[in-house]
């Protein structure tokens, strides 16, 4: 039998079509221009007087000045180099020292939207308007005062691609090895532009501060990517019968073809009788816990190789079907094949995995091999 080769494939040459979250909307409303490296260029973001956030390519079409180093003047962004004034629609409104604005003074503008207090841009290499069916859904109740303010974190990942993040949707076994969770039930549904993951898990007792209590720490998770980069994860952790409700956002935008910005945020619903302060403290704590989980993934991404031909066991999730789904965002609209968007359902058989993992956990506990500090 010949040794198996890894097919590293070739890097992509285009960025995904769809809504990409850039951060919390209010963070861009300070009257200043903001720079974001994304989609192989630099974007400039600023708020117009009515609060609308505009997103343009960051380089002035006059002489290439960096607009993010400029100044917000009225509704326009003014280039620091020669004061050319650009509006959110991509048109140059005014060149103060010139009699008229040149005819071709138009730059690339990204369509934007706000949802769940976050800002999104629509990226489309074909330049079409946003697809209405792919609008980002509102999280029920998100504008009410039961929910804690979003925690928000970001981390730049170099030498890796966004497909690594997407692969996690179907990766049942990594939850045990990387995230110290114990998946009991794991299933996926892909349909249209949405890829979902349903998981029931418990905490690994050998990684818990109190192994006996870990048995009562359960987590139900209903997570879905809405388009290529924005996941809403409804989390229902329960501990000794107390059930919490959290929403975790896991999103990213590409910087180049081998780098991306990972962002995550969490909000949690106040338990009855909780003060705002208690609610927000709980939100921050849970945000930190789930955030630590992302860092465990990052350690893998930073050292692994790209692999186009994963070798799967029967207990692995549907990586090939997920990648086929993901491909729809990287081809022209006219080239999306039905199999990329047709509904696909998959349930992983966790029986064998659970047997082996119970054994491993028991051995770890018996030999008191468990780490002294737990990430509970």
């Amino acid at each position: 039998m010949t040794a198996r080769n890894i097919d590293v494939g070739t890097p992509r040459t285009r960025f995904a079509r769809g809504w990409h979250c850039l951060g919390l909307a209010d963070s861009f409303r300070d009257g200043q221009p903001h720079a974001i490296e994304a989609f192989g260029t630099k974007l400039v973001l600023w708020a117009a007087q009515d609060g609308t956030i505009n997103v343009l390519d960051g380089y002035c079409r006059h002489m290439g000045g960096d607009l993010s180093q400029g100044t917000v003047k009225g509704d326009s962004i003014a280039c620091p180099f020669h004061d050319w004034r650009w509006d959110g629609d991509g048109r140059c409104r005014n060149v103060p020292y010139a009699k008229r604005v040149p005819m071709r003074a138009r730059t690339r503008a990204w369509p934007t939207c706000e949802q769940n207090k976050q800002l999104f841009v629509w990226n489309d290499p074909e330049g079409n308007a946003p697809i209405p069916e792919q609008a980002i859904p509102e999280i029920p109740g998100i504008h009410g005062d039961e929910w804690s303010p979003w925690t928000w974190d970001q981390l730049r990942i170099d030498g890796s691609s966004t497909r690594e993040v997407i692969d996690n949707v179907v990766d049942m076994a990594h939850f045990f090895y990387i995230h110290h969770a114990f998946p009991l039930e794991f299933r996926n549904v892909f349909s249209g532009h949405i890829a979902s993951q349903y998981m029931e898990s418990k905490q690994r007792p050998d990684w818990a501060t109190n192994p006996e209590q870990a048995e009562n720490a359960m987590l139900r998770s209903e997570a879905a990517y809405y388009g290529p980069s924005y996941m809403i994860d409804y989390l229902y952790p329960s501990f000794n019968g107390v059930q919490l409700e959290c929403v975790l956002i896991n999103c990213h935008y590409p910087i180049g073809h081998d780098s991306f910005m990972l962002q995550w945020g969490l909000t949690t619903k106040a338990l009855p009788g909780m003060t705002e302060e208690q609610r927000d403290k709980m939100g921050r704590k849970l945000g930190k816990n789930f955030g630590d989980g992302f860092l465990e993934d990052v350690a893998m991404w930073q050292t692994k190789t790209r692999i186009d031909n994963p070798l799967l066991s029967e207990e692995d999730g549907p990586f090939y079907q997920l990648r086929r789904w993901y491909e729809q965002f990287f081809v022209d609209l006219a080239d999306i094949s039905e199999d990329m968007t047709d509904r696909f359902e998959f349930e992983v058989d966790t029986t064998k995995a659970n047997e082996v993992w119970e054994q491993e956990v028991a051995e770890n506990l018996a030999s008191q091999d468990a780490p002294e500090t737990a990430d509970a």
Binding site: G159, R187, S259, N309, P318, R324, D342, R343, E347, T351
Partner: protein, 96 residues
């Protein structure tokens, strides 16, 4: 930045083999199953009591009236049809 996350350098292009394997992973073990309730025909695979894969298409999604109600986990009638097909040994020839 160099493309340093693509580490192994394979001597031969393995693209063709990758493509063949991808087709296998997508299609192997899939059998037609007809829903006892609405007659929608899907492709399904079962490699064990807990494992199920279901590939719908436009016609079967159209035929099923359960999916319309946003059932995130699919249609229970169809699942029951797949279980019956499994009990009848329809997936027995699936390679393990």
């Amino acid at each position: 930045m160099s493309n340093h996350w693509a580490k192994p350098q394979t001597a031969q292009a393995t693209a063709e083999q990758t493509s063949a394997e991808r087709a296998e992973y997508l299609q192997d073990g899939m059998r037609e199953v007809r829903c006892e309730r609405c007659a929608a025909v899907v492709l399904a695979a079962k490699r064990g009591p807990e494992h199920t894969a279901v590939q719908w298409n436009a016609a079967s999604e159209q035929a099923c009236f359960v999916l319309e109600y946003g059932q995130p986990r699919g249609c229970t009638w169809l699942r029951s049809s797949i279980e019956q097909a499994a009990a009848a040994g329809r997936f027995d020839e699936v390679p393990t």
